[in-house]
Symmetry: C2
Subunit: 109 residues, 2 copies
Amino acid sequence: MGATKTHMFTISQNSLAAAAKVLAHPARIAILQYISRQDQCICNDLVDVTGLAQPTISQHLNAIKNVGLLKGNFEGKNLCYCLNQEKWEELQELFQSFFGKINQNCCYP
Amino acid sequence: MGATKTHMFTISQNSLAAAAKVLAHPARIAILQYISRQDQCICNDLVDVTGLAQPTISQHLNAIKNVGLLKGNFEGKNLCYCLNQEKWEELQELFQSFFGKINQNCCYP
DNA sequence: TGGTTTTATCGTAATATTGCAATATTATAT
DNA sequence: ATATAATATTGCAATATTACGATAAAACCA
């Protein structure tokens, strides 16, 4: 009990849900927006930008990284990373394909 | 501690996150897809379709309903509802505007 | 080397989500 | 009215998420 029953759904349904999960927190939205504006990003800035503690930011960044949405060098003192264009486009296509199919079928009676 | 600090983010960031949360579970994806295919929907079918228990479905439906994405009559024995077109389009626009702005700014160095 | 800065990890508390059995409610049919 | 069918609500257990203090690790600089 309690855990999501992923095995009861299709891969595509689970993929979209996983992608949506990344966007399902305002901090991660803010982080993605910030990264896109910066060309690169330093985690410490994000603490100021979001008002969350550094370990919390690190955790959110990790969630974004784990789905492959970040690319760059993660070692060293100052990180330097940006959006992984390929993955980012994949994510958009997931949503767009979902929206498209729903729109196509929907009747709105 | 523990709860999302929504007050630290913009309304627009919170809105998108809330919308994404609805899509952040495969059962709700499956439910939305099913509803769009059916023109109407009876909750009992969803138990078969998803393999989840009836109270669980009811809960997921409620989550979708709570953001205004469903429209129809919710009283009576057999429900009859469908997607709320207006809200559904709003949700898509939220995502598209987010994607659009990110794409516009992003450098992908 | 020692100190500083930046990010990661660990541990833990608070809260949220998911799922379901039991039960209640609502509408319909007989 | 009573039985039946469909959905909602309640209560609770299991799990996941969010957040942060403390601390570690890595890179840099004097």
